[in-house]
Subunit: 296 residues, 6 copies
Amino acid sequence: MTKSDSKRTLRFGLPKGSLQEATIAKMAKAGYNILISSRSYIPYVDDDELELRLIRAQEISRYVEHGYLDCGITGYDWIQENGSRVHEVGEFQFNKATRQTARWVLAVPEDSPIKSPKDLAGKRIATELVNQTRKYLRRHKVKAEVEFSWGATEMKAHELVDAIVDITETGSSLRANKLRIVDTLLSSTPRLIANHEAWKQPWKRQKIERIALLLKGAIDAETKVGLKLNLEQKNLPALLKALPALRNPTIANLSLKGWVAVETIIDEHVVRELIPALKAAGAEGIIEYPLNKVVY
Amino acid sequence: MTKSDSKRTLRFGLPKGSLQEATIAKMAKAGYNILISSRSYIPYVDDDELELRLIRAQEISRYVEHGYLDCGITGYDWIQENGSRVHEVGEFQFNKATRQTARWVLAVPEDSPIKSPKDLAGKRIATELVNQTRKYLRRHKVKAEVEFSWGATEMKAHELVDAIVDITETGSSLRANKLRIVDTLLSSTPRLIANHEAWKQPWKRQKIERIALLLKGAIDAETKVGLKLNLEQKNLPALLKALPALRNPTIANLSLKGWVAVETIIDEHVVRELIPALKAAGAEGIIEYPLNKVVY
Amino acid sequence: MTKSDSKRTLRFGLPKGSLQEATIAKMAKAGYNILISSRSYIPYVDDDELELRLIRAQEISRYVEHGYLDCGITGYDWIQENGSRVHEVGEFQFNKATRQTARWVLAVPEDSPIKSPKDLAGKRIATELVNQTRKYLRRHKVKAEVEFSWGATEMKAHELVDAIVDITETGSSLRANKLRIVDTLLSSTPRLIANHEAWKQPWKRQKIERIALLLKGAIDAETKVGLKLNLEQKNLPALLKALPALRNPTIANLSLKGWVAVETIIDEHVVRELIPALKAAGAEGIIEYPLNKVVY
Amino acid sequence: MTKSDSKRTLRFGLPKGSLQEATIAKMAKAGYNILISSRSYIPYVDDDELELRLIRAQEISRYVEHGYLDCGITGYDWIQENGSRVHEVGEFQFNKATRQTARWVLAVPEDSPIKSPKDLAGKRIATELVNQTRKYLRRHKVKAEVEFSWGATEMKAHELVDAIVDITETGSSLRANKLRIVDTLLSSTPRLIANHEAWKQPWKRQKIERIALLLKGAIDAETKVGLKLNLEQKNLPALLKALPALRNPTIANLSLKGWVAVETIIDEHVVRELIPALKAAGAEGIIEYPLNKVVY
Amino acid sequence: MTKSDSKRTLRFGLPKGSLQEATIAKMAKAGYNILISSRSYIPYVDDDELELRLIRAQEISRYVEHGYLDCGITGYDWIQENGSRVHEVGEFQFNKATRQTARWVLAVPEDSPIKSPKDLAGKRIATELVNQTRKYLRRHKVKAEVEFSWGATEMKAHELVDAIVDITETGSSLRANKLRIVDTLLSSTPRLIANHEAWKQPWKRQKIERIALLLKGAIDAETKVGLKLNLEQKNLPALLKALPALRNPTIANLSLKGWVAVETIIDEHVVRELIPALKAAGAEGIIEYPLNKVVY
Amino acid sequence: MTKSDSKRTLRFGLPKGSLQEATIAKMAKAGYNILISSRSYIPYVDDDELELRLIRAQEISRYVEHGYLDCGITGYDWIQENGSRVHEVGEFQFNKATRQTARWVLAVPEDSPIKSPKDLAGKRIATELVNQTRKYLRRHKVKAEVEFSWGATEMKAHELVDAIVDITETGSSLRANKLRIVDTLLSSTPRLIANHEAWKQPWKRQKIERIALLLKGAIDAETKVGLKLNLEQKNLPALLKALPALRNPTIANLSLKGWVAVETIIDEHVVRELIPALKAAGAEGIIEYPLNKVVY
């Protein structure tokens, strides 16, 4: 039923669940078109050398370590929680909107007397990340009970336990639930990981590196844009000095004498500051355009 | 719970409801990433200087006038209906697809004897825009009863009242309901408005102007595209003369002798006419590419 | 109720159902913005010269042949099944993700004794494509019973009939249902077809050709991307020789002496191989950007 | 994978699609609990002697005739359309709300010149029920073209064809589409049908008859209710004479001297008239209660 | 298109929106089956003497007063707010689950200094019920600004205004929003109202009264159940004395000597107390069964 | 924010997730109307003496044991898995449709060499029920690796592990996935459990017992029905002898001489056999009616 597992096939685990949609979108931008079928648990990809599997993010590192998968994408948090021995190929930032890293934080009700890890002694903590939480308590030489939370962890902090360790990006859900962050245990980003044996095989390693390169190029491109503008040549040196964000631009002469066209790639989040500044510096015909991939 | 209201914070009202999705999409294109949470009525934005509020489009001008909001995006119709005294910073065209402005029209059943505003004397009119409708009647020196419609206004024109004043873009819903447009009371586009006091404060004004600039750049870019093509140099003057839409192009020499590369920004809706014409005029390798922002 | 059918109006049939969303998206890329209203069965389009109708893909060719529609988009399979005499203006590939053509295949259970069309003698076959299936049997001089299937055809192969003729792209649904493909009857892509009389009228023909040109430009652009990179001039000839995919690039001098900027349009699916190769060949600042239309 | 096909198993086809939900609800009321799984096309039923299959209503009579199914529930319309030779066990009325039978009607635009079947000569008719429509034309000795409609048949009557044959219950959808009913071709109710061979086998026949009995009891109960009321004995003869709907009631003495309790089963749709009349006739403590099954 | 408005037709307005689903369910229990079609704004009902219209609850009393509708179901709140002169035929309690009446309350943030209506002087209040709120202020001789709220009124109490007047049943949404109830302005239940002229016409009045009777019977039945139990005769007097809820039961002798069967109708919400008490008192075979209608 | 925790309040945990909807429906039948609000995690119930909490079924026994909840409804499986020391008040059968108990089974691919628990030595097993699975292995003196499965356990049996322990009712999902059941570890039904301390307090114990009584009465009523029929008195003894299911009926004389009315309560699943038998035995006017509660 599945494709034969020849030497020329790479078994690749994609994270099912909250990271799934983002991962498939990023892979498409990298050039790998994936179709999830409700009729088959094996996704289609337009590359015969890849064999995909959709597996929970919490479990991927386990199956990469065991060698069932050659490589996979999962979060740093679950690699650590599972204590999996795998080769980390690359780190990515999936969340373009907030540009914030997911963090596992120790949180308590706003009016809780718990102010530092020391105050956890003898308390009960609910979390999905049991091992990391226990490790944190050992590091702080505190004894407390840690219980596995099957979900809705935030709601438990007010009534069922004394503290929680939960994941957050902007912290707005914790604030809405009247919870206070005491400490950060772990920051986590998506990682591409490989099985150590697979990584030693030249073909698999090259294949994995290529995917990593294209995925990085696609993800970098999400936070960058192309910028073009016209300027009087005499204003160019002042502009470049004033705006270091205009890194290494291409300069071309325009048919209109004394004017040049400037083109460069910049981080999208500086555009909010840069375009008003450029306009103030005499730039005209400012154009921002989107990019698919950026590979330096 | 909310961010502190220091001098360096701008309180910005976004329209909840039919304009909401479009406004958030335009703001993202302008460079402001907004996340709406079902758990909190305060949207997240990746700019610490902004404090967003989601408020009904019908009410935003009221709260900008009262100073609860420094500025906001809402429709011209509701600014007028509320009679709000606010500073209008900019006008936008959100609807890329139809490029048609929303209009509040007086409509009656196809076979109604009402042919002009004069015929409304003594009749009953249902509308959401009560004040503007009354003003219209006064302007035409007609006495008629105006009643507030809580929704499904179109359906009322056939049975419950003699005429309606309702909003339409393409008129197709009115036609489908067998209604005839008698007159247009008001055209309405989205506006960025500011509180008069806020507008006097330099930091707030500069911040508002910057948002207006980027929003305009992003919205302009939706209806424009970049165009590149190759052409024999000898055909260039004739082409430029024949196609004034090719405004102010950049001309570059190609390695192939006697050929030039022409690049420009044009309105997307002329592409339908322009590309066939360019091809007929000998252009080759015509490429159209998308833009994020256009700032002249 | 509908627009008047003057000489300057083209009646255009769009396929309702599985092709509908894709067709409207492609038309938008071509420059024709279409709005489907739940209140009216006549879609809105921002071109007064077009009158759209949404009709089942299975029926469009019939109504184009009869002259009720001037032209329409439908699949090759249903043109053949209906035996419609129409003018075929253009063929398109809608499915960017798989780049695979839909095929109508003869399929049987994995363990069926049927290995070739000859084995169908005396058997029962369920299909939506009754006429083409009968034609196929005649071609192979086999007598078998063909019955119209109202849906869920795959499920019938195991219990209700001996074989099915069904449509597939990647074959993954057939595999998941433990079915084996015996033969392919027909490959099918979307086509733009015109009524023979309409095609003879200059204005209609020109209008149809223009739509075909823009639609092709938009669909071609989906599988192509723009590529820019910087390179030491001395490495350029070797690069161009090694990478024929870099067809006909634009070369420009950079301000950094001895370096050139290379820009070209390439098929997106070769990017996966090309970018790693370019990087290995010394290219820097590799940028891939999206295109709206490509017209050669 | 499926249960063994011993003599003691009855293969029963349920209609997939518009009748599906109603059929499963009626079967549950009859005492057969059915679970549809998205993972398996064979429904679960809490009776080991039944093997269910979900098949399109249009196709069930075909597979009952061929013997693949022992029996099934489908509409009279499709039994006729397929010309299937099957044994009809029972007729049911599924639609409690309207108590109206589905009818296939010949319909035309309100202002069409077609007033009778004779006017169809030389016209084009779209319908899903091609064979029955042709039979109708032959009966009226009219020659017209009948084409298979893949759906949205109503919409075609105004533009694509001259008339349609479509299914309707209350006619409201036809009226909303400005169509006029010219004639009724066929009334259709759900039927339980059996394969002729299966019907000859005693065990299968008894099993089918039992299902028919319980299904009829459950469906009859949907349109009937139990009614109890208290009355002065002296008023009883007058009441029974005046209200023949109170068929065959049970009369019991109450502890309050001179009063009796009256209990009966009546058609629910007469309750609207009956309860006000009973109250007017001096009845007290009128109670209406629901029934699961009614078997006379 | 609509049925002819003969003397024997009653035009009946049903409330669109939040009351719609409940109203249609209650009408079905009363014996009137209503079908809402997305294709037509006139609902179907299986009674030729009724002509239904779906109109916003806020507007129904207006159209009943004007005579466009003969009668309708709407809330007491909107009858008052509109100041409509109509005949009130009956009052109903739709909400079986909470058995609580909807109330319009004055609410403020938990920590607001506003403790009584007097504290509203000079404040701003947002509400959908502008007229009733103004009336309330006049009654308390307080001057305050009342503004119409287009929705999401609760959210405004914290930031946009000083107080709100909003509707609540259990108060749980107000509590979840940290709001405190200061006073109740108005309690509201669904009412059946009639136009004064229609009420004078015998046929219309009788028809309306009949609907009211059946609707009341159906709604009463929702909060009542039938109860049967067996008891030793000697325990009967003590039981009846101890449990007055067992109002007016039917007593029948059982075949088992010395035992009687007791049957009665009781309020469902006392069952929670009654059944344990009955069991304690020696009752056996206690059966509770549902009712469709109860008419005393 | 929450109600005060006086002596007269019982804190009751309801299972969130797959059992949630069923539990709330059963509670409503028992007489406790519960409303879940998306705005508050504390459900509303129309009994001031109850304080509800929605907690995952997996966690409820933990919080009942700790005393945070006085009682709760959860599955026997999770009480065992957590090893919680709680008082079991009652056992229920929620699943009326299948009348089958959920079972945790050891399953392997159909063609796996594993035929008995002994064959698991050295294998890897995935399950959500880790502790019970380890206990099972110890009981069979087998060493195997047990890993926690975060979901989609069935899919793992073919590729990721050697065996799974998963929950099933009818087994149809396992069969559809080509898995074979090797052994059953645990059967599980919903239970009402109480904290040991709470159970010692008379008021809480009485309150819990009352809920248990009503819940049992409501759930029993789901699988029972009332049956009435008329019969010639002379046939009664034979009937009662032949049909022991007609347990302890009420017999009443009818006005028609020689005929009696028989009424009883029976298990619904015997109705399928009983009604045909009754009819064969001469019964007439057989009526089956639904019950709300049955308390013996």
